[in-house]
Symmetry: C2
Subunit: 174 residues, 2 copies
DNA sequence: CAACGCATGTAACCGGTTACATGATTTC
DNA sequence: GAAATCATGTAACCGGTTACATGCGTTG
């Protein structure tokens, strides 16, 4: 599933949305397993419109700038359903941290330790951001499946932080 | 760190290598945190050669096809060191499985359960492949830092498999 | 009047992937 | 003589990212 399928899925399951709102959902809820940005969202919405998958409606607002609201069309629903039944792709994981660890003998002891400390800091920050979004998410229509993806993130970050803290102790005692 | 930095790092830390050998190392050792392929390796080696980072040497073999052996040059070592000290990039994780789970209310109960079973199968297979490589890796110069990245993979797969098995039970009991 | 939140977009680039194409040598 | 292993490469494409560019309306 690509960016276009996620956008179609959001429009299908949550109703009409603006590019701005799609971005908010991606950042608040899907960020730990799919990274999106405006640079993906707006060009994709344009392509989806040109393909007849979604339609755009201009909405004037008094208290805020005007906006473009996108709704999914039946052709778009078909396309989304198709994507759901495509064979499951293996996860893509790329870790700059692990690449650097792999070449860790190029570092001094203190550099190596700082590398791990830094990664722990980042992962703890990731975990905190995810946890902070929980209340917001609950008030914004969180279902059991959303909770599944949330729990996955919590377990993943927790396991990795524990692992890294062990490795840090080992590295410090050498 | 990009593909080019990994190739430079391998040439620096393991000595001269062919594209074929680089691919073997990527598949056997780095595959769980960096996915590479010939389509990346050969064009990258060409660019590295054109930039003066590596040099190519043709080697004739009697028992096997001839090959091109690449060695790192001092300019390449500089480039690699530079990449090691660039700010740590956040991991990139993209999960087709979690995207489908996020939209899980589009599935029937049995489809949903099969989706989880399928992912467990894939993750167990990933884990097994990693474990199977351990002996081979040990006999091929595995250091403590390599072991670090191996352990990371084991912990990650183990945690996720346990998590998914719990969720599977829950899904079956609804 | 600055900072922030809301809102939309594009052009150039990138770091690859995918599919294809080829061929030697050895083992079964 | 088929399959496996060793070995190298390219052309077309892709799914984005990065950096830039703009502007309204509200809040402090």
């Amino acid at each position: 599933m690509k960016g276009k399928d996620i956008i179609l899925g959001l429009l299908k399951t949550r109703g009409p949305l603006t590019g701005y709102e799609i971005n908010e959902i991606l950042q608040d809820q899907l960020n730990h397993f799919y990274v999106g940005s405006y640079g993906m969202i707006y060009p994709t919405l344009k392509k989806l419109e040109n393909s007849g998958f979604v339609k755009k409606e201009k909405v004037s607002q008094d208290d805020k700038p005007n906006k473009n609201v996108f709704s999914i069309l039946s052709l778009g629903e078909k396309e989304f359903n198709k994507s759901l039944y495509k064979p499951l792709q293996d996860d893509e994981f790329k870790s700059d941290f692990l690449i650097k660890i792999y070449f860790g003998n190029q570092f001094s002891k203190s550099e190596f330790i700082n590398l791990i400390k830094n990664e722990i800091r980042i992962k703890k920050e990731n975990l905190r951001l995810l946890e902070d979004n929980l209340e917001k998410w609950k008030n914004n229509g969180m279902n059991d499946n959303h909770k599944f993806t949330y729990d996955y993130g919590i377990i993943y970050y927790g396991s990795i932080i524990r692992f890294l803290e062990n490795k840090l102790k080992q590295a410090e005692n050498i």
